[in-house]
């Protein structure tokens, strides 16, 4: 099993953090992982994306060209990565901020009101956590518990209140489609 993932949006949406949380989560579940962010000048343009690979075998290429899953957080990222998704793959997108509709018919497309749901919890910036919850549920790759542990490895300095809120957002995403565990 190898899952190749791209997460993309603009700076400040927690793109890099989301990728690192997925990598931590993979590691917690004894998988092989790589995380590779876009870096430097590209970052300054306001867009951010990262590649994550989670695999039961040592990861060969850390560069993801044809992802199994993409998590799209803003409009420009949809244009950039929709066509890259592997046939039969999964595209999760943040419907709150993206008005166009994906056109691919050969992949599973799931709109998520990530910012609306995050605002309901009281904090728009944890929209990424909602998306990660959905990701865990739809791929079955990682458990909710693992993700909760993983976010604690990423946010070592966060207070308990924030961590609890992040957990809620993960749960919310996880529970969106079908029953939550």
């Amino acid at each position: 099993m190898t899952k190749e993932i791209i997460i993309s949006g603009f700076g400040g949406q927690g793109i890099v953090s989301s990728g690192i949380i997925l990598a931590h989560a993979g590691l917690i579940e004894d998988k092989h992982v790589t995380f590779f962010p876009s870096y430097g000048a590209e970052m300054r343009g306001g867009t951010a994306n990262c590649s994550v690979v989670i695999s039961s075998e040592p990861v060969a290429s850390p560069i993801v060209a044809t992802p199994d899953v993409v998590i799209i957080m803003n409009e420009p990222s949809l244009a950039r990565f929709e066509m890259a998704v592997k046939p039969g793959g999964l595209l999760l997108y943040n419907q709150t901020l993206i008005k166009s509709k994906p056109k691919r018919k050969d992949i599973t497309v799931m709109p998520i009101e990530a910012n609306v749901l995050a605002e309901e919890l009281g904090q728009g910036r944890i929209a990424n956590m909602v998306m990660l919850g959905v990701f865990a549920k739809k791929t079955g790759l990682l458990s909710l518990r693992t993700l909760k542990n993983a976010q604690r490895k990423r946010y070592k300095k966060a207070n308990d209140e924030q961590l609890a809120l992040n957990d809620k957002a993960l749960e919310k995403g996880y529970g969106l489609f079908g029953n939550s565990k």
Partner: protein, 355 residues
């Protein structure tokens, strides 16, 4: 098994350097290796070592010259333009037979180029780089685990042969996060033996001189010939590589560092398609693993060299295979990074054409 920790490649180097018993870092900021000095500024000081942000890479390499001549394990890191600036110093250090470690997180060039991952400093690293007759031992990691382990290996080789060693990585390896296992017992710098050539004051012994010049008639020739013998020994004893699926291969892909990771994915894809393709990954770029290649070239008709450059290592492949095989090339210069499918296409084209 020790616990695995998710780490940036650049941070893995820092931990590897400290675990190798090195307590001296001097360097100047440049992307994409800034995480190294940033992290060193904390870690070296925590460990009671020396951290100096220098005024330039020229100063950095010369501080290393001083610290290493004083008998201490010392290292610097930079990226391509900064390494160019260090070449004079590296030449002096090689000429004075002093072991140091230089890490190059290569970026696109020439000139200011860009900050994307690249492998275009191969010639510079494997041909000496500066002026004069010398070589630098060059290691090419391809994972965060290697970045943790290679500093120790580099210091050991550098000290064994009294020669500068380079770790040649690239922006991708530095910026990538991967699991690292702290696979060896950290070395206490105090446990390292004193060097019999170190400058530390001549109390109770003859004074020592560290220098790269000798103006007496014929002396430098003699010295260089002696150093050439050392290089012959290194070439004979220190070639390192890894191979995958080479035994029955019709075609062997040759790639190092980041390219070898991507090529390895391509090779697996090819195998799934029933193509007999293998991978040879040089770990030491100097000394180049010539012996295994010479051997392979007696039975393998096609080699495909993959580099993130216009083609530099390909020269060493040609030299090692002595025209016995066909050498094909796929290169992505200027910060381009290949993807597995494009390498696979090239493999298929070569094998299709060969049939």
């Amino acid at each position: 098994m020790a616990e695995k920790k998710l780490m940036y490649g650049n941070h893995a180097i820092v931990e590897g350097v400290i675990a190798a018993g090195c307590r001296f870092f001097a360097g100047y900021p440049i992307t994409p290796q800034n995480e190294i000095p940033e992290s060193m500024s904390v870690r070296m000081v925590d460990e009671g070592g020396v951290f100096i942000q220098t005024e330039s890479e020229i100063a950095a390499i010369n501080m290393l010259f001083g610290a290493a001549a004083a008998g201490k394990r010392a290292m610097t890191s930079s990226s391509s333009p900064g390494i160019s600036l260090m070449q004079e110093g590296i030449s002096y250090i090689a000429g004075a037979d002093i072991p140091v470690l230089v890490v190059n997180i290569v970026r696109g060039g020439p000139g200011l180029g860009n900050i994307a991952p690249a492998q275009s400093d191969y010639y510079q690293s494997t041909r000496g780089g500066g002026h004069g007759d010398y070589f630098t031992i060059t290691l090419a990691p391809n994972s965060a685990q290697d970045l943790y382990e290679f500093p120790k290996l580099a210091f050991e080789l550098a000290e064994k042969y009294r020669n500068p060693a380079l770790i040649l990585a690239d922006g991708l390896l530095g910026q990538m996060m991967e699991a690292v296992e702290f696979s060896f017992e950290p070395i206490d710098p105090k446990s390292l033996p004193e060097k019999e050539w170190a400058l530390c004051g001549c109390k109770g012994r003859e004074r020592r001189v560290v220098r790269s010049y000798d103006l007496k008639q014929g002396r430098l020739e003699e010295l260089n010939l002696r150093r050439a013998e050392k290089y012959t020994t290194i070439r004979k004893d220190e070639q390192r590589f890894k191979d995958e699926y080479c035994d029955d291969a019709d075609l062997v892909v040759i790639a190092y560092g980041t390219s070898s990771r991507i090529a390895s994915a391509a090779v697996r894809m090819a195998r799934q398609k029933g193509l007999k393709v293998g991978l040879l990954r040089p770990i030491t770029l100097w000394p180049f693993p010539t012996d295994v290649l010479a051997d392979m070239s007696k039975r393998i008709e096609n080699f495909l060299v993959v580099e993130m450059s216009c083609g530099q290592m390909i020269d060493d492949v040609k030299l090692a295979t002595e025209c016995r095989s066909n050498i094909h090339f796929h290169g992505r210069p200027g910060g381009g990074v290949p993807i597995p499918s494009e390498i696979l296409e090239k493999i298929e084209a070569v094998l299709g054409g060969a049939r």
